[in-house]
Symmetry: C2
Subunit: 342 residues, 2 copies
């Protein structure tokens, strides 16, 4: 049976919320076994809070934890008994393990992914790819959103290919439309990197390139994939996150400013929850780290149970829908040199 490993010690709310979310995922998807990696002194008491099918859950004890203060490379090398390293090793070595989920240090997940799990043949740079809500009620993939601060045009071309494969595998989009995130829609817009990437994407077989898009288009939903360098993709992702949180804060302030306002809230509650739910992209899970030999999902550092549950379901679906195979196949088709490793 398919196994999914969850790093029970990673994230601001570990292990309590991680364990809670992972157990919830057992209900959401019936076709996998859960492996939790972490210190049993902390994880076991959390597990004992819930009722679940014990035959579907395994706890692998490990003594170390990688934190945000650790330097990723030395932590992945040095902390061999950490929940992250132990989990990723299982992902690499155990054929039945199809996916790994962590809300821990982004740097460590990226480094561990490349060092321990390894890249698909031909992949120049793996990339983080979250799904964002859009006004159409579907989701837009943003790739890369932070794994690669410095990019070359060929990386961006591969991000387009990998995210297209993901849109197909995860959401069943037949011909995902791909936009290149720049500072204007005209073809000549952007810096040299994006101008050159535009030319590569224009002639790239196997993807449906819709041209340049702007920051606002990410949430308008006209494209299924927004391709960006990891620097500006990260800025865009967090700008949207900040705007969403600001909206929530302002609404809260407005609707608690007086007794009358609180009363009005009761009337508007249902509609406002509709908005909150739309803005809450934790329901989509985390960012898939595309380009690795196996499925790795990086959940937000502040993930609560709901988000972890979604991330585990996401890992199950990505595995079941053959994400890795789809990426390999599309990469081969598009004939990007697999040798170039720059």
């Amino acid at each position: 049976m398919l196994k999914i490993v969850v790093d029970a010690m990673g994230g601001d709310n570990a292990p309590a919320e991680i364990v809670k979310g992972a157990v919830q995922a057992l209900d959401a998807r019936k076709d996998f076994k859960l492996i939790l990696t972490g210190d049993e002194n902390f994880v076991k008491p959390e597990l004992e809070k819930y009722k679940y099918d014990t035959s579907r859950v395994e706890l692998v004890h490990c003594t170390e934890v990688i934190t945000n203060d650790d330097v990723p490379t030395s932590a992945v090398r040095g902390k061999k008994d950490s929940s992250l390293v132990v989990g990723m090793r299982m992902l690499k070595e155990d054929e039945e393990v199809g996916g790994f989920v962590s809300a821990g240090s982004t740097g460590a997940v990226l480094t561990g992914g490349i060092m321990l799990v390894g890249r698909i043949k031909g992949v120049l740079r793996p990339a983080l790819c979250p799904a964002l809500p859009n006004v159409r009620g579907t989701q837009t993939l943003l790739c890369d959103c932070g794994a690669n601060a410095e990019c070359k045009p060929a990386y961006l071309q591969q991000f387009a290919i990998m995210a297209s494969a993901y849109a197909k595998a995860a959401f069943g989009v037949e011909n995902p439309r791909v936009g290149l995130l720049t500072n204007g829609t005209e073809e000549h817009k952007g810096d040299t990197l994006h101008q050159e990437a535009h030319q590569l994407l224009k002639t790239c077989e196997g993807i449906d390139f819709a041209g340049n898009i702007e920051g606002r288009d990410i949430m308008y939903g006209d494209v299924d994939v927004a391709v960006s360098d990891g620097f500006s993709g990260n800025v865009a992702l967090k700008a949207i996150e900040g705007c969403g949180k600001t909206v929530s804060a302002v609404l809260k302030k407005e609707f608690t400013s007086s007794f009358g306002a609180k009363l009005h809230y009761l009337f508007a509650k249902k509609q406002l929850s509709g908005l909150q739910n739309m803005l809450d992209y934790s329901r989509f899970g985390g960012s898939v780290f595309l380009g690795l030999k196996k499925v790795v999902v990086k959940s937000h550092g502040s993930s609560k149970a709901k988000s972890i549950c979604a991330s585990v379901a996401q890992a199950v679906d990505a595995y079941r829908n053959n994400l890795i195979g789809n990426i390999s196949e599309l990469l081969e088709k598009t004939q990007i040199s697999g040798e170039e490793n720059a």
Copy 2:
């Protein structure tokens, strides 16, 4: 008396909304004269719709218009009788003219600003600087947000200096806090450009550098100035704009989905307008083009009267608060080579 020139033909809603907004500004600020540049066959009938002090308004007839389809450089050189070129020439040549406002082609405003108005001595690259609302109820300046897609570290340092001078002049912030927009708060984050810019900012006299900030911090209001390269600044600005519009669209959908929902809207109307007003940054006017010898305000292409009125008031205030003098002074203090023109 101070004169402000408004390009009556620039923008999606020209000349109707431009003229309307400019006339409204006559009420908002009593201490200036308005000069409108544009084709009198179109502008005069618009002007005649309103009552205003005719001694404070002058219409300068010109026969040409620069559109978004024009190539900026050749348009600024070739269309000598366009509302933009005529207006910018007046700004340069007439000592009484203190500011220029246009909602026309961004490229033409930038090119015209540099070619016709000219840079302050020592300025490497002028930069677009809009004010965004933040959750604290104040505003955060984002500089550069699109004038320079390719940047060098020294440009970013100057953006910090110029925007600090603007925060002082426009909003009376005594010691504006400056953050560098990157993909993480740690000092080593970002690409080479931002890592080098961080080092320059850290040791730069005359500004209060708070370190790296992320996209989400733009709206949290912990800094008064967010410094960015024009590429990712533009992506961030438009991502926030898109998120705001998405929120409005979702709220509209939620509150019109049924008769009951429409009824609920009546109760929540006041609070929701509070949110809409907060997100509507057209109330702050346009983006000031910092680094020129005189005040140039670029209003959003889709500006309506309200935004034009705010932009004109913004130009008046920037002039009155000696924005240009403050920038020159701060640049001299910080001893960035005025000769380097790279």
